[in-house]
Subunit: 346 residues, 4 copies
């Protein structure tokens, strides 16, 4: 059994992670930590876990916890993990960080976008970006995984095949993305008050969302060219789900069939990517609760633009599910272990 | 492996059942039927099942299907199962009917409330009401299970211990219940148009809901006295969940502690009942996706009334989950097999 | 023109009040106050008012504001108005308090339920309960109006005719009520986080909600007998609306027609009560944005119970609309002035 | 008093129109028609209108109705108005068509996108596109108004100033739009079943939405150059609201201040356009119930792209409110008559 701990267990990503780990036949949860609720039972905070997970929340002491774990999942706000995930911790335990601190390779880029100093530069160098569909080999041997952002996962998976094949212009891309409210976390803020986000839609962080450099970095790595794009998120009145809509310019004449083939080439053997048939539109509801990302590609015959859409559950493939997928790969388990057949609709 | 088929696979109960069965280690789904979608793949109707369940929808031929199954789950509108679940079918396969046709023992009562003739009177006599917490022994040997109604499950579980102990008046009970929209099924009707049921709450079937005689029959059986009550449902703008709120009159002076003890007495060994502590209020969100029913009891010191609340997921404990729980018992499996640790929040 | 000010302008009741007053042909808004946003424009907080109401938010100084106003609407948390609405203020201006401080006549009862000292006992004695359908004469000459609570308005209007006529038992009443989230106000709390109250329903303040003594007091006044009842609120995932469902016991044999006649007797000349026909169920959506309360009464022929349902918009008839209705009466205007024909659906 | 009739009164646009007309001091509603509900009272279908509008629904006979009206509002599915709005009707009464039949000047273009023959070519020639902010002079003298589509209104208002000034490339435009469910109308369809569109977001009519040629035609007219663009709609789980997000390429170096100035130049005197300040994001909630369109423009300094966002209420500025605005202009009334100060939040 893999001994696992979750740091920051009481956020939505942490709770989703725990629900997956509790069902994972090869995992034993040995520790849950919290800043606000130390000493309380996890199931007193998330009452859905009564009778399922009855652990008490501990102090957030990574060096101690690392001594008793094989893997630590870190679900903390940015700027904290980079301090806490030290080489000492990594000597004891593998770490999968669901936050942003180890995603950007360039410390300066991180500091420019996140407005905090990055104090874990030594550790950062060894971090592996945990997007299994494009980085599986490195994940296998990683000690520290930077689990991709929810928007980044949806965006990268949706456009990567086209960029990799050089079929679309790398600096003329618009990604218009839409997310459910759980993406904003469980912290209190007027913007997540029910009456303020119900029955409305809005763009936010206009031209400034922090997943932008992450998407560009990873797509540049995959394609081998410098990718520059517009990423624009919106808040949708629903609990879960992300939809990424990419507007792309072809670099040459390419048919819809050829576009579809490219997606199949890269994804047909990927357990968690479903390339949809015909003109089926990805919808977030079909991915709710599961680790799937549903993708489809279209061509506008009038303007010549290529449209690609990707939908996923921000808490699963966009966070906790992908983290477990990474763990499975790191521990040489079936990639889908604990992640199969989960689906919730309606 | 238990060979199972689902008749009426494309309603919400059917689809939820399939998601549970697909994860059940002792079950093989060998047939799915539909009236409207014969020849299509189930996953073309419910696209969340792409890659999970790829069976094609067959004709709804129970005699044929019963030859290849150990258990048939029937998810049909009332008035149909009573014709189709014949003795011939039952000779071949066990049947769990999620509809209403075998719940009321009295054919006349059924016909008075459901306004259709009951043509399966011979079969009706052998049907067992599938509420495991109160009827486990009979379920073990049953050939035909009448799976309880969603409202009935929530209502009965919430008040049965008090009636069983004679602590509350049996003919002075109000149950005010609230349900998400999936309870109304997937059929098209103005009442389930998004704009018509979003942002509103309403009572419906005032003093005439068909789960009323079912609740009364079962509570009368359990308590040994004739139960007469008001049951009033409401439609709530959410996908899933039922909350039953019971207003009861004590028959004698009883403390809150004694009331709590009664619930523990009957439910502490029940896998899927969680009697909440202190003044915790049951909320449907904590039961979403799971087979749990959360219950708590209160006493109004001013009026003397006893208040009991029960919350569950109408598609799981109120339908598909309970059906699988019944199957587990009928096939001598662990009652919780395939039903453990499922929880979805937010 | 009536010079009006709103104290506590930036809560949901305050904002709704301002939207009604801005359309009232006989009213000029001369002041808006806030605790948190002094110096900001009201339309910077509620951006829907850009181009409609451009006043700046002032300090909450009632003595000063009372010098320039004919009427002050007070929208403050309980425990504050009783300090601030002094005799001095009332000498200058009429006051309509939308909070709870002047609703309960008995200081001790107030302090027992609200857990704060009531410091305005002198003023309390002269306060008039502002439910126009039952108290119009006193409202006409009042200096200080205690505007009814949202739940209280729905509950009282729904059952008062039956109690007034002595048709129902006065100490055997259950009112099960359901409210949208705006009833909880705009303050930050985990219970109003979108993901925590979306897709769920729950009871709250079980057997302890503060509108209980208010409902009992007013119904006792109306009926002339001592009313004792159970009032139980629930939170529904919608922005607006309250539904009150009353379960009553007849004191004598009475037909449905007679019950309907009683409602018509008291309400047919009331501008804002719509007694529905036949078996139409009140739904909150039909009252959204309007000052109407929709009511209907039913009889359960099986149990003999009488069921009465009332629906209204908690921010309009349950708060701001009723306050303006009171103002209209106090200033000898048409009761419906500024309140006619407002309806929003879907 | 202007005598007005509404053809197709029982759709969401029709009902919203009636709520505005009922409050318009210069209008008398003299007729409401329906296909499905002839002989019923309008307020039996939309119960919010009980006590407000009690007219009976008539047969849909335009020649007859035109004899008693000054203006007819037509709210019919496409393909019908083009048959029914004849020269004879127009000789009797002005007509404002809220449907699509008279929006596209080119019969062939209409037939290519709408897949029905256009039988009203003679009348089409005289139709005026009713977007007052850009076409007021022609509206003043029009007999027949083609009221713009909801998406078209949001899209055109959002990008027209930039195109008019030649500041953005006319054939490299992406408009990603999001709409509430009322935009899909009141007809029954699985896609508007509550459980199917709640808690999800999806793109639809990918690269094929019929408002595309309308947007292009009008923007081409305004700018004097041929506009070719991608328009992509999405369905959002909310009742009302449209958000249009435009991604544009500058034709020359232009500062954010200059961009803002362009919007002010065209819109500062327009009663129903609010150009937001600073980095305020348009949100649909701030426009709910009102005839406003809120707009703001941004510049992405990294990519150089210009982003413009527009939000409105699809049933008001996107349909019924704009129709009344057109009527006001046609009858030489204040443009804002009946449309002022309406706002609903939360």
């Amino acid at each position: 059994m893999i001994k696992a701990a979750v740091i920051g267990a009481t956020g939505y990503s942490g709770a989703t992670l725990i629900s997956i780990l509790a069902n994972h036949k090869d995992v034993e949860i040995v520790g849950l930590t919290s800043k606000s609720y130390v000493g309380k039972k996890f199931s007193d905070i998330y009452k859905n876990f009564k009778g399922i997970v009855e652990l008490e929340l501990e102090e957030q002491n990574l060096p101690e916890i690392s001594k008793k774990t094989d893997v630590i999942f870190v679900c903390l706000p940015h700027g904290i993990a980079s301090n806490e995930v030290t080489q000492e911790v990594l000597n004891n335990s593998k770490v999968i960080d669901l936050g942003a601190d180890f995603r950007l390779k360039d410390k300066n880029c991180y500091e420019a976008w996140y407005k905090v100093e990055h104090k874990g530069e030594d550790v950062l160098a060894g971090a592996v970006y945990g997007l299994p569909e494009w980085n599986e080999e490195k994940i296998k041997t990683a000690k520290l995984i930077a689990n991709p952002g929810c928007y980044a996962t949806a965006s990268i998976l949706t456009v990567a095949p086209l960029l990799k094949e050089g079929l679309v212009n790398s600096n003329d891309i618009v990604i218009d993305a839409k997310s459910g409210v759980s993406g904003a976390g469980r912290s209190l803020d007027l913007s997540v008050h029910f009456c303020e986000c119900n029955e409305t839609i809005k763009p936010y962080k206009i031209a400034t969302h922090r997943h932008t450099p992450e998407i560009e970095q990873v797509l540049s790595d995959i394609s081998g060219v410098n990718v520059l794009l517009n990423f624009q998120p919106h808040l949708v009145p629903m609990n879960r789900g992300i939809l990424a809509c990419a507007y792309l310019k072809p670099t040459k004449d390419v048919s819809l069939d050829e576009l579809k083939e490219v997606y199949k080439k890269y994804y047909q053997n990927k357990a968690f990517i479903r390339v949809l048939e015909g003109d089926e539109a990805p919808e977030t509801k079909w991915t709710k609760g599961s680790n799937y990302c549903d993708i489809n590609v279209f061509k506008d015959r009038r303007t010549g633009r290529i449209l690609a859409f990707g939908a996923l559950d921000n808490l699963v493939k966009g966070a906790a599910g992908q983290a477990v997928q990474n763990m499975n790969i790191m521990f040489n388990l079936d990639e889908t272990s604990g992640l199969k057949n989960n689906t919730v609709f309606p």
